[in-house]
C-alpha cells in the first residue's frame, strides 16, 4: 500500500463551511416562527421563492465561470443570503421583488466580485437597499400584525397577493393594510417617525393600538426571536460576541442619551432595540464574516459605528429603518478599520 504525503496539520476541527452556514440558517428559525405567527405564512412563500432564485442564480453563474456547481452551492452561503433577504422584505411584497433582490445579491454583489469571500458588501443588505430605493412602495408595505387586521387573510389569499397583486376577493395590499380602526398601518418605526414629524409626542404615538406600551406589537417578538437565535450562534461559537454586543450597546447608549435629552420625541432604548431589524442586523447581518471587520478591536469599532449610524438614520434620516444602510456604509470602511486595528504580534512592541 502506498504512503500518502500531506501537509501538517493532519488534524482538523471538523468545522466546515456548509455546517457553519446551515447553523446560521437554523438560528434564524425562532425569528422566522415569530414572523409567521405575527405576519402570516406569506413569509414562507417568500422564503421558498428566495431559495429557488439564489440556487438558480448561483448555479448559473458558477456554470458560466466554469466552476464545480454542487460543491460551491452546497456550502450554503447563497441560501443564507436568500433566507436573510426573505426575512427582511415585507411578506406580501410581490413575487418579483424577492426574485430581483436575490438575483442582484447573488449575481452582482457576490459573484461579480469573485464569489464567496471576495464580496465587499453584504449581498442580502445590498439587495435590500437596491429594492428599497427602487421600489419604495412595495418595500414599505408591511401589514399590521394579524391581530389588528380588519379581516384576517388566508394562506391562499396571501399567495394570490404575492403572485397577482390582489386577493381572490380583489383587495390590493394597500387595502389589506387598513386596520380595524380604518387607518392604514405602518411599521412601528414608521409610525413613530411620522407622528413625531406631526408634532405628536412619542407617548401619544405609542398609545396607538400598534404598540403594547414598549415596542411595536409583533415586532418585539420577532426581534426577540432573532435574539434567541443570535445567542445560540454565540454559544455555538459561530459568531464572535464583539459585533453584536458593540452594535447593541452603541445603539442603546445613543438612544439612551437621546431619550434623556428629548424624552418627548425620543422613543427610548427598548423601542430601538426591539424594533425593525435591530436584532436580525446585530446577530445575522453585521456578523457576516466576509464583509465585516476581521480583528477583534476592529469588530468592536465596526459594531459600534453601525449602532451609531442606525440611531442617527432612524432619528434624523429619511428612512424609518437603517440597518441595511449602516451595514453597507461600514462595509466600505472595513479595510481601513482592519488596517488600523492589527493586533500586536507576539514579541513585537516589547523591549
Amino acid at each position: 500500500m502506498k504512503l500518502t504525503m500531506a501537509s501538517s496539520p493532519h488534524n482538523h476541527s471538523h468545522k466546515s463551511l456548509s455546517r457553519l452556514m446551515m447553523t446560521v440558517i437554523a438560528a434564524c428559525i425562532p425569528g422566522l416562527i415569530a414572523q409567521v405567527f405575527f405576519f402570516g405564512s406569506a413569509v414562507l412563500i417568500q422564503l421558498v421563492l428566495a431559495l429557488i432564485t439564489v440556487s438558480a442564480c448561483e448555479a448559473a453563474v458558477l456554470q458560466l465561470r466554469k466552476r464545480k456547481v454542487w460543491p460551491t452551492l452546497s456550502d450554503g452561503s447563497a441560501w443564507l443570503t436568500g433566507v436573510l433577504l426573505a426575512l427582511s422584505i415585507p411578506p406580501l411584497a410581490p413575487w418579483w421583488i424577492i426574485v430581483i433582490g436575490c438575483m442582484f445579491a447573488i449575481v452582482i454583489v457576490k459573484q461579480l466580485y469573485g464569489g464567496l469571500g471576495f464580496n465587499l458588501f453584504n449581498p442580502a443588505m445590498a439587495a435590500y437597499v437596491l429594492l428599497l430605493v427602487s421600489f419604495p412602495v412595495q418595500m414599505t408595505s408591511w401589514l399590521p400584525v394579524s391581530d389588528l387586521l380588519a379581516s384576517p387573510i388566508s394562506f391562499s389569499q396571501q399567495l394570490s397577493v404575492i403572485f397577482n397583486g390582489f386577493t381572490s376577493a380583489g383587495f390590493s395590499v394597500d387595502q389589506l393594510r387598513v386596520a380595524i380602526d380604518g387607518t392604514t398601518m405602518a411599521t412601528p418605526l414608521d409610525t413613530v417617525k411620522t407622528d413625531v414629524a406631526h408634532h405628536l409626542t412619542v407617548a401619544e404615538s405609542m398609545s396607538k393600538p400598534l404598540f403594547n406600551g414598549w415596542f411595536g406589537l409583533g415586532w418585539g417578538w420577532v426581534n426577540l426571536g432573532f435574539l434567541v437565535g443570535g445567542l445560540y450562534l454565540l454559544k455555538a461559537n459561530i459568531i464572535n460576541w464583539h459585533i453584536p454586543v458593540s452594535f447593541l450597546a452603541s445603539l442603546a447608549v445613543c438612544s439612551g442619551i437621546g431619550y434623556i435629552a428629548a424624552p418627548g420625541t425620543e422613543p427610548g432604548v427598548v423601542f430601538h432595540l426591539f424594533s425593525g431589524a435591530t436584532m436580525l442586523g446585530a446577530f445575522f447581518i453585521a456578523t457576516d464574516p466576509v464583509s465585516a471587520s476581521t480583528t477583534n478591536r476592529g469588530r468592536l469599532i465596526y459594531g459600534a459605528l453601525i449602532g451609531l449610524l442606525v440611531y442617527l438614520i432612524r432619528t434624523f434620516g429619511g428612512y424609518p429603518d437603517a440597518v441595511a444602510f449602516s451595514v453597507l456604509l461600514l462595509n466600505m470602511a472595513v479595510p481601513l478599520i482592519d488596517y488600523y486595528t492589527k493586533p500586536r504580534t507576539y514579541g513585537h512592541g516589547v523591549k
Binding site: M1, K2, L3, T4, M5, A6, S7
Partner: protein, 184 residues
C-alpha cells in the same frame, strides 16, 4: 475697487500657500535613490549581457532612458513585474519568449577535460572562475551567477551549466514532488 481687493486677497493667499508649499518641499524632502540605482537593485546582477547591454548597470540606465523592461531572461517574470511596478508600466512577457521562471544554473567545469586556456576566466564577469594558464580551472559555485558567458569561449566545450542543487534550506515544500514508496 472691489476687484482690486479681491485680487490682493487672492494674490496674498497664493503667496502664503506658495511659501508653505515651498517650505514643506525643502523641509520634508524625501531622499530617494536615483531611478537607475533602484532599477539596478531589481536586476539580478548576473551581468550576462542577454539584454544586449554589457552588464546590468548599463541595462538599468537604458531602462531609465525608456528601453523595454522585458529583456532580462535570468530575472524571469518576477523581475519584469517588479520593474513594471517601479516604472509604472504594464508588465509584459519576456522579449525572447524565455521561461517565466528561469531555472537557476551554475557553471561547472569538467576538470579532467579542461586544457587550461583561461578563456573562460576572461569571459567571467564576476571573476568566479579560478585557474592559471595550462592549469585546470574551476568555478566558485557561490559566486557564479549562471550567466552562460563562459560556455561559448571554451574551446573544448568542457563547461556545463548545471541546475543549482536543491538543499533542505532551499527546498520549497513541494510535497507532491517527493517520490513516495509502498509501505514495506
Amino acid at each position: 475697487m472691489t476687484l482690486f481687493y479681491a485680487l490682493i486677497a487672492l494674490g496674498s493667499l497664493a503667496l502664503i500657500f506658495g511659501l508653505i508649499l515651498g517650505f514643506a518641499a525643502v523641509r520634508f524632502r524625501v531622499e530617494s535613490n536615483p531611478i537607475v540605482d533602484q532599477i539596478d537593485t531589481i536586476l539580478p546582477q548576473t551581468q550576462c549581457g542577454q539584454c544586449g547591454y554589457p552588464g546590468c548597470r548599463p541595462y538599468a540606465e537604458a531602462i531609465a532612458n525608456g528601453d523595454e523592461i522585458n529583456k532580462c531572461p535570468p530575472g524571469g517574470e518576477a523581475t519584469v513585474k517588479k520593474l513594471a511596478d517601479l516604472m509604472g508600466v504594464e508588465a509584459k512577457p519576456l522579449a525572447g519568449g524565455e521561461q517565466a521562471e528561469p531555472i537557476k544554473t551554475v557553471a561547472y567545469i569538467r576538470e579532467d577535460e579542461c586544457i587550461g586556456c583561461t578563456k573562460c576566466i576572461q569571459a567571467c564577469p564576476v571573476d568566479a572562475i579560478v585557474g592559471a594558464t595550462r592549469q585546470m580551472h574551476t568555478v566558485l559555485i557561490d559566486e557564479c551567477t549562471g550567466c552562460d558567458l563562459c560556455v561559448e569561449p571554451c574551446p573544448v566545450d568542457c563547461i556545463d551549466m548545471l541546475p543549482v542543487k536543491e538543499t533542505k534550506q532551499t527546498w520549497k515544500w513541494q510535497l507532491n514532488a517527493i517520490p513516495v514508496t509502498q509501505v514495506d
